[in-house]
Symmetry: C2
Subunit: 352 residues, 2 copies
Amino acid sequence: MAQPQPKAQQAGALPRPTLESVAERAGVSRATASRVVNGGTGVREALREKVRQAVDELGYAPNLAARTLVTRRNQAIAVVVAEPESRLFSDPFFAQHLRGISRELSAADNQMVLLLIEAQQDYERVGRYLAGGHVDGALLFSLHRSDPLPEMARRVGLPTVIGGRPGWPGAESDRELVYVDSDNRGGARMAVQHLRSLGRTRIATITGPLDQTSSTDRLDGYRDLIPDGDPALIAEGDFTPDGGGRAMTELLARRPDLDAVFAASDAMASGALRVLRAHGRRVPEDVALVGFDDVESIAAWTEPPLTTIRQDIEEMGRLMARLLLRRLASPAQPLAPTSVITPTQLVRRESA
Amino acid sequence: MAQPQPKAQQAGALPRPTLESVAERAGVSRATASRVVNGGTGVREALREKVRQAVDELGYAPNLAARTLVTRRNQAIAVVVAEPESRLFSDPFFAQHLRGISRELSAADNQMVLLLIEAQQDYERVGRYLAGGHVDGALLFSLHRSDPLPEMARRVGLPTVIGGRPGWPGAESDRELVYVDSDNRGGARMAVQHLRSLGRTRIATITGPLDQTSSTDRLDGYRDLIPDGDPALIAEGDFTPDGGGRAMTELLARRPDLDAVFAASDAMASGALRVLRAHGRRVPEDVALVGFDDVESIAAWTEPPLTTIRQDIEEMGRLMARLLLRRLASPAQPLAPTSVITPTQLVRRESA
DNA sequence: GCGAGAGGTGAGAGCGCTCCCAGATATCAT
DNA sequence: ATGATATCTGGGAGCGCTCTCACCTCTCGC
């Protein structure tokens, strides 16, 4: 555990002023000083001004730990990312989410505590942390089918918002589960519809890992438009370029006559593109290709640039934070905020 | 104190057990219980076991706020990223750094508070936070020439480690400044050396923004091997694919006879690659190209795959955290940890 | 001019924890 | 046994803050 460090006072750090000293300097009581520091209602202007001045002169900043101790409010929320490699480091996905969250949170003076889960044992550590009452709420990401986190959070009564539609059994009907997701299914439909409008008839798809709802939802969107399609036109990838390439190879072997591909992520599309070229297929002439995500650094820089389905990832992050904050603000009605589906949009470039 | 409505208690959250209740259940004093919970030296095994059992039964978790209040230790460190767009969202750079940091920090039971700076006013907010004593130390990233953050941190006596060599005047000789950087100069030399060994003689370079040391150091490395090169062979980019492309266009206009390019980042290299192809130059036959960073999702997926200089970003993050923790552990000798330069390495693919 | 009410203010009690110090107990030599 | 020493243990004092509640001012209406 922690090292028995005796009063880890930093060298050179003067003792920070306390409310007490502010009060003294302003010639008021600690209670009055506190009132001024927080909101300041019910204090005569004259005194209020005095206190403000004392605060300035002393450079007072409230001690959050002391405040938390009595208010039980941490002004901090946890962002838990349970991403086993794959996407986290190939997409800027993650960073964009964080940015949206950061914006919303700091506007409300909340801090963001980032918890990365990489191995099984991390779950325990994170669970302990969430149960420890160090944060007021949690934003959970990239949950796979049977992720223990939401249940952990619920058990300790920690308000939670999930990124991406949860897919475990029963999640469907669980009113307590609040999540933000983009319209994966609608986006996929848009992609396929676009390929169709180009006159393509043998449209294949490369899916993400099918234990994630974002993958299955996109596949469902594809099937919405191609209800009785040949199963040979469907191959499973893993959201990486490599996986996309492998899936493409499979598809080409099974249906050399395919004339379009909808890849469920730009990263996979970039892998597919490579394989297509290696097989001498021209894109988009021979095979039209549509991706998903609109990750700038991939989609705009492949050769040819990728037509893709855009989702506003930053907005999703912002939304998640907003939902959580709203819930924290009104604990009376814990069910108030409901899940949100954000729209997707077709971005035409040159691959289809 | 009566409890008509237990403060901001979350619905459904039972009141958390306190050390007091653990002590009572174990039949010892609060002090003894505390000893067992932290380290546990100086308590007889029999009692210790009793306390441990009480902890388990009650599901006790220490209240960090209370602990912080007395120990002045937060078990939390701030990670400040002051990255105006550019790199943050095109490279997985950032995520990898965070991963390294996260690993090291969580091993030492420290939390990571992430602070993103996007606009000028954010500096004030972050400065206030750092001064607020909420964290025990800070990891600072992507500082540009006259970033106010290090000075802020120093003023409040907050131990700090910087990612990337600081470049402001005087930083050179400031022994207090601890940073971790990769061997940018050596890496650049390696890149140019490699191009030379291929027989190239008209080697151009695309630099990053020259207000960052990572850019200037790489340029210095280039100049080490080409001391009296034609200035027309040097163009400034901005670490984005777009910027790399623009720089490449310039270079081609100025020196159509160039036969090699060293781009100071993979992202810029990918942009340059595009422009080269658009101008009908074959890579590597006509123009050999070397990047920098070895960002998997870029370097491995361009056409042809990029030969580049690899730096171990995750390791850098880990190192930064380790340095900071070490410094926190021994405040007595604040100068003990010194800056570290991590090695770089040539990764040969097909572009050179 | 006086009482009632409204509005301001301060004393003090904790929040849950750590750590100092004194006292209790056990251990060991003499 | 007896004292001296080493080892454990618990009481209690805060850390800095918020919040209740009683009190103390004013102001106003009559």
